[in-house]
């Protein structure tokens, strides 16, 4: 009968629609979860960038071994930003418009995070970032998150430990010299150092920057010495960190405390190459073997990382960036799982509201996307002999001065009499 034919056809059509929807859902679930980013694989910060990439790949492999996130295998789509801010906008535009990634994270460093911010803000994307100092202070973007443990006021938190140690000296110092490279990170770090100087009543007797491609730093150190500062705060990148430390030794810099914000001595290349020249220098670290017992899960990560790092000829220690690069992805993973999707607003809200268990401990974020509490370790190098890397894998080459919960000893001052 005609009515029966219509009902049968309708039933078949509905059945086909449901099967189609089910298949589409399955297909979507099987599509990889694409995470896009730029990373410094060449250029001055490539050593760090490659180390971070290895850590992120270890995370990806760990996650995929457990079945991926929400049933989807994680895939990375990344390009070399050459440590050049100019490449960043086009990289992220390509990732989003051409590669159609599901999520983006940042590359390494203030210089390459800042130029990505306008794109993130324009497209309302949740943006996990890797070691940018105080980037969000000008943007005030509510979907920005930073995995570097500088605290809610990063410019201040970055050098808090340094100035706390300085003002803990007896008698208290009265003068400070500030010097750094002409680049984004040192500019932010010096801003914070100036705030500290103001708060503590230290008179700034030298406050200058230098071009990053400076060859000889001894004129700079001599000019600093001529002002007789009791404390010298340096904000520098790896080649200039090496240059400043060497120049301080060559000139015979006499000051009570030297260091602060030198990027470079945290990884094996400069630790081994500078060796005993680092003795007496006070500098920030994020992980040292002396506090290894406080980060129990980190050892298994470091074992995997160090095995790969040797093969790929990057930092064989992996104490600086890699654990935090891994932790950044752990936060993202937990946010996606917690919100059961990729909705950018929900991800941001989830990350703001929750505390995350990561390999670097518990991580919670403040309103501005920075860590809710700072955890920059200020340390003083000592007892370094020769240029062997093995000595840095064991405790005993650094004293952790702050924060209190990680402190292992006191500052030895003055710098020029404690270079052993």
């Amino acid at each position: 009968m005609p009515g029966n034919n219509v009902r049968t056809t309708l039933r078949r059509a509905l059945g086909a629609v449901f099967i189609g929807l089910a298949l589409t859902g399955t297909a979507l679930a099987q599509q990889p979860l694409k995470i896009g980013f730029g990373m410094s694989l060449t250029g001055p910060l490539a050593g760090n960038g490659k180390a971070a990439l290895i850590a992120m790949e270890i995370w990806r492999d760990d996650v995929n071994a457990k079945g991926g996130i929400l049933g989807r295998k994680v895939e990375f789509v990344y390009y070399d930003d050459q440590t050049s801010p100019a490449t960043v906008p086009s990289i992220y535009t390509k990732l989003l418009d051409v590669d159609k990634v599901d999520l983006v994270v940042s590359g390494y460093g203030t210089n390459v995070i800042a130029p990505a911010m306008p794109i993130m803000m324009q497209r309302n994307l949740t943006f996990m970032t890797l070691f940018g100092l105080n980037v969000n202070s000008k943007f005030n973007y509510d979907r920005y998150f930073q995995i570097m443990p500088a605290g809610p006021n990063p410019a201040i938190g970055w050098s808090q430990g340094f100035f706390d140690a300085a003002m803990g000296m007896n008698p208290k110092p009265k003068t400070v010299a500030l010097v750094g490279a002409d680049a984004e990170y040192p500019a932010m770090a010096l801003e914070g150092a100036r705030e500290h100087a103001k708060k503590t009543g230290l008179k700034i007797v030298y406050d200058k920057t230098y071009p990053p491609n400076t060859v000889d730093y001894s004129p700079i150190v001599r000019a600093i010495q001529a002002t007789n500062p009791e404390v010298v705060f340096v904000a520098s990148y790896p080649p200039d960190s090496a240059g400043m430390v060497r120049a301080a030794n060559e000139v015979g810099l006499k000051t009570r405390m030297f260091g602060g914000g030198l990027v470079g001595p945290q990884f094996a290349a400069l630790k081994t190459q500078l060796g005993p020249l680092l003795n007496g220098v006070v500098n920030y670290e994020f992980y040292v073997p002396d506090v290894g017992s406080r980060f129990p899960f980190l050892e298994q990560f470091l074992a995997k990382y160090q095995a790969r790092a040797v093969v790929e000829k990057v930092d064989p220690l992996g104490f600086y960036l890699p654990p935090y690069a891994y932790a950044m992805m752990q936060v993202l993973d937990q946010a996606i799982t917690g919100t059961k999707g990729l909705d950018q607003a929900k991800l941001a809200e989830y990350i703001h509201k929750n505390t995350f268990d990561t390999y670097v401990g518990k991580v919670a974020f403040a309103k501005n996307g920075e860590w809710a509490a700072p955890r920059v370790m200020m340390t003083q190098y000592h007892g370094i002999t020769g240029n062997d890397v093995e000595q840095f894998k064991k405790p005993g080459r650094l004293t952790v001065l702050s924060p209190k919960e990680y402190k292992t000893g006191d500052l030895k001052a003055p710098y020029h009499e404690n270079k052993k």
Partner: protein, 291 residues
């Protein structure tokens, strides 16, 4: 800031030592660009290649990097000959040296850089030497051996190149090819062969300068790009084709950088250096000792 005699003396010494290093980096460009009109923008890449060769031998066998660089300079010479031959056949002979030749050298720069990244990775490399952390002091004046030793060897190299060019038949042929290639050909000398060997000499000096660089500071594959502007600036400031001019130009820039860093602020150093270059060219377009 109070200007003391010690500070002034140290600024002069530091400027001269730095200038010596700049001269070593630039003498090759003075030959290739100043005399042969070959815009070898890849010159810094060969400097970095020299740095890495010095690094490998120093790391594995403990030999002094500068000694190593002198020992392997014949290899750089051969490399320079091959490179020039390719450049001549593909571009100079066809009259396409200006733009395409420049692109060729850009390509060499990037290929060298990428090859170094693939082989060595991207971490900074330094060498260890017996004198690297030694500083001689003469009263209040410091002489860091890290800069003094490269300076001394650089002076020997630059003066050696000058003497070679002015006191040997081949050297005079190089000077002649810079002036008038046709006249040289009429005298029975093959200008292409002369240019080939002169270019090879410039690459050999780059290899030695690479050892100076890695003694002075850490090196990574992309660092060469930071010196492109400097080496050409020294060559132009000194006067195209004048080795003494290159030496003088290097000292001028080294002293300018040192004085500015010491007394006014290091961030002004590039502006002062290149301002001097512009001022010199405004009043003396051929450079300090150019003709």
């Amino acid at each position: 800031m109070e200007v003391s005699w010690a500070l002034l003396a140290n600024a002069v010494i530091a400027g001269l030592l730095l200038g010596g290093f700049y001269a070593a980096m630039s003498v090759g460009i003075s030959i290739s660009f100043g005399m042969l009109d070959v815009v070898n923008i890849a010159h810094p890449a060969f400097i970095i290649l020299g740095s890495y060769i010095a690094y490998i031998v120093n790391d594995r066998f403990g030999f002094d990097p500068i000694v190593v660089s002198v020992a392997v300079s014949p290899l750089f010479f051969l490399l320079g000959m091959v490179l020039y031959r390719i450049y001549y056949i593909c571009f100079e002979r066809r009259g396409q040296e200006s733009l395409r030749g420049l692109a060729f050298f850009f390509g060499i720069l990037f290929i060298t850089e990428v090859a170094l990244v693939l082989i060595f990775g991207v971490d900074y490399r330094m060498v260890s030497t017996r004198y690297g952390d030694v500083t001689w002091r003469l009263g209040p004046v410091d002489f860091p051996m890290r800069l003094v030793v490269p300076f001394l060897v650089a002076m020997v190299m630059v003066i050696g190149v000058q003497l070679f060019l002015t006191h040997t038949f081949f050297g005079r042929a190089v000077l002649a090819v810079a002036q008038d290639q046709l006249a040289l050909r009429l005298m029975g000398v093959n200008p292409v062969r002369v240019k080939e060997r002169a270019f090879a000499l410039s690459i050999a000096t780059a290899g030695v300068a690479g050892a100076f660089l890695i003694v002075i500071q850490p090196v990574q594959p992309a660092i060469g790009r930071e010196f492109i502007g400097l080496v050409f600036a020294v060559c132009v400031l000194g006067g195209m084709g004048s080795i003494w001019g290159t030496l003088l130009g290097a000292f001028v820039l080294g002293l300018a950088e040192s004085f500015t860093s010491t007394f006014f602020g290091p961030s002004w150093a590039p502006a002062v250096s290149f301002g001097l270059l512009l001022a010199t060219l405004a009043f003396r377009p051929s450079g300090l000792l150019g003709r």
